[in-house]
């Protein structure tokens, strides 16, 4: 698997990010200001290829995080005199960023995912505070979508809370889960599940088995969320969780459907925003 930098680093390749006419190319930027992470993506105005991405923790200053992520992406772009013609912001903090337009993460994730996985008909996005399933049409337009409402069950936040309860970090979570045999976790409420997990640890369950159990319980939740939007293949798996290859694999197994996780999955929203900016 190629890394993100290998995927988008145009410097080593023969293609120039400038358009064939040799004039200064135009670029478009997308900002995805999520509850946990803020992502920036820059695409080439003509080829629509992703030429740079960058990420920052959103922290308590989403506006700052957005500015820094964009500057960071620009510095990676390394094209003298590069111009960002338009910026579109998405994500829960979209209204706080200095951008030309704000678009919801549903539309942006859909477009971004379709760009990364052209054959995708469904997008599964597990974000920091909400999970969504989006059904696409052939053009990548949103046909229907579902979002978890009411609570954090089945979201990235839930997974990171559980990781904390197990005393492992988020990156290790997938590795642990892949090794374990799922222990049934009955509670989907972030607070109750935490006490359940602590109770199970006390009664001797291994962290591997618990991590595997948590993945299964989230998968069940997602399957019920899916209810009326069927898992029509190909499914593009996006959002922060998709970065974790082991975790993505566990999810794919637990849901029983193959998930296509592009390297740039966490940036799908920002890429979609950049694509809208380029229209």
């Amino acid at each position: 698997m190629r890394t993100i930098d290998e995927t988008i680093n145009r410097k080593d390749s023969n293609e120039s990010p400038c358009d064939p006419s040799g004039e200064t190319a135009l670029f478009f930027a997308g900002l995805d200001i999520g509850s946990t992470a803020t992502k920036a993506a820059i695409i080439h105005g003509v080829s629509k290829e992703v030429v740079a991405v960058a990420e920052r923790a959103t922290g308590w200053a989403p506006k700052e995080a957005a500015r820094e992520a964009l500057e960071d992406a620009l510095s990676k772009l390394d094209v003298p005199g590069a111009l960002i013609s338009r910026t579109v912001a998405t994500g829960y903090g979209r209204k706080m960023a200095a951008a030309d337009k704000q678009v919801t993460e549903i539309s942006c994730h859909a477009l971004g995912a379709k760009h990364l996985v052209p054959e995708a008909m469904t997008v599964l996005d597990i974000g920091g505070q909400d999970s969504k399933m989006i059904a696409l049409d052939e053009q990548g337009n949103v046909r229907d979508f579902l979002m978890n409402d009411k609570c954090a069950a089945g979201t990235g936040r839930f997974i990171s809370n559980m990781a904390t309860a197990l005393g492992i970090d988020l990156d290790e979570f997938g590795v642990f889960a892949a090794k374990g045999t799922p222990v049934p976790i009955s509670s989907m409420c972030a607070v109750f599940a935490e006490s359940e997990v602590i109770g199970l640890t006390a009664s001797g369950a291994s962290r591997e088995d618990l991590a595997a159990g948590i993945v299964v319980s989230i998968a069940k939740r997602l399957t019920s969320l899916a209810g009326r939007i069927s898992f029509t293949p190909t499914i593009a798996f996006t959002g922060g969780t998709a970065r974790n290859a082991e975790l993505a694999k566990c999810f794919s197994e637990a849901i029983g459907v193959e998930l296509n996780t592009p390297v740039l999955a966490p940036f799908a929203g920002a890429i979609g925003a950049a694509l809208i900016a380029s229209r």
């Binding site: 678009v103 919801t104 549903i106 949103v142 229907d144 409402d149 009411k150």
Partner: protein, 376 residues
């Protein structure tokens, strides 16, 4: 655009609590109604004042939750909260509360409300077609008439009923005229404004007067030339009743650039049904009210018929189906509505389950904005 007739109704409505209280002092009986199934004509025929009591605000809910379960429809909790707090001037004025055995939550709440105020419960059958249900319901209408007669100390004749029906039919026609203004494109009255007008017209001491106000609005707005402004997707809100205080979803849709052209609910288009004047008044009343296409009926085919007509008449682009949290009937029925809208009508459909609080406003905003973006 502002209209003098609309301003007149809304300012005029401010005097309502006082006027109701004054009329009551002079001996006029005040009847508080909760639901669209209750025949207001009977109270009007007896010379009573009818006020549509509401449960559309969030603030009385904590008081209600002292006795009612938290996991109950906000409309029921709000209605009850106003009663226990005695914070609604209309509830305060009411001599008799008229209630219907609609959904389980309401029905059981009324048992508790009956301890606060005299309350007459009408037993509503939950089927509109069976041979037994029509006569049963007509019997309930008669029983209600007898209660009103006893309350007011008079005999209600057919003639009196016919007069009252004439007035409510005029009201229904005025409301229909008002709501139908939005069949135009662009729609002249925003969803929020429409809701305010209809809501405020429900609390007048004199029905005659509120009807005149409504007719004036239909006349003025109907004649006014409409500016050719570009408007967003035309949305029909379907589902549970909503009013001032529980307008969150309507407001979010309009803030996101949609136009709420009509309401397929009890605070909207369902108020526009006519009573048949050819039939004996009690029979005609019973028939009209039983035909209300509410989700507490099983089955409830009337709602699909109504939606079908409204989608065509209002040239709707999308349906937003609203359910109050813990409203089982509308929540379960949402699946039928979704199938009908998405599969048969091939139209975008969004189901929202929420309550009166602001807790989910931002999440709802994302869903509604995304829904409107999807329509394009």
């Amino acid at each position: 655009m502002s209209y003098t007739s609309i301003d007149k109704l809304t300012t005029r409505a401010e005097k309502n609590p006082l006027e109701v209280a004054q009329a009551k002092e002079k001996g006029t009986k005040v009847f508080g109604f909760y639901c669209l199934y209750s025949p207001v004509e009977i109270a009007l025929a007896a010379g009573g004042i009818v006020v549509g009591l509401c449960g559309t605000r969030n603030d009385p809910i904590p008081a209600a939750e002292r006795t009612l379960p938290r996991n109950l429809c906000p409309l029921i909790k709000s209605s009850f909260g106003f009663a226990v707090e005695d914070s609604c001037p209309y509830f305060k004025s009411a001599d008799l509360i008229v209630a219907d055995s609609t959904c389980d939550g309401k029905k059981k709440m009324f048992e508790q409300m009956a301890e606060i105020k005299p309350l007459h419960l009408m037993y509503l059958p939950h089927n509109q077609e069976l041979d037994v249900t029509g006569p049963f319901w007509e019997g309930e209408v008669v029983r209600f008439k007898e209660r009103v007669e006893q309350e007011c100390g008079i005999n209600i004749t057919d003639e009196m009923l016919k007069e009252a029906i004439k007035l409510t039919n005029r009201e229904a026609a005025a409301l229909k005229g008002l709501m139908d203004l939005n069949q135009q494109n662009p729609a002249p009255i925003s969803g929020m404004k429409m809701m305010e007008i209809v809501f405020k017209s429900g609390f007048f001491a004199s029905k005659q007067e509120s009807v005149e106000c409504l007719e004036a609005i239909v006349d003025e707005v109907g004649k006014a030339p409409q500016e050719e402004t570009k408007q967003g997707p035309r949305v029909i809100i379907s589902g549970v009743p909503m009013g001032l205080g529980s307008h969150k979803v309507c407001q979010l849709i309009e803030e996101a650039g949609g136009v709420v052209v009509a309401f397929e609910n009890c605070t909207g288009y369902k108020k526009t049904m006519q009573v048949d004047t050819e039939k004996a008044p009690i029979t005609a009343l019973a028939e009209k009210y039983l035909a209300t296409p509410c989700s507490i009926m099983s089955p409830n085919p009337g709602r699909i018929d109504l939606l079908n007509t409204m989608i065509a008449d209002f040239k709707a682009d999308a349906i937003v189906d609203l359910t109050w949290q813990a409203c089982h009937t509308y929540n379960v029925e949402a699946e039928n509505i979704r199938k009908y809208v998405q599969d048969d009508k091939k139209m975008p459909y969004l189901h929202i389950e929420t309550d009166y609080s602001d807790a989910d406003t931002e999440q709802l905003r994302v869903r509604i904005e995304a829904f409107l973006e999807m329509i394009g």
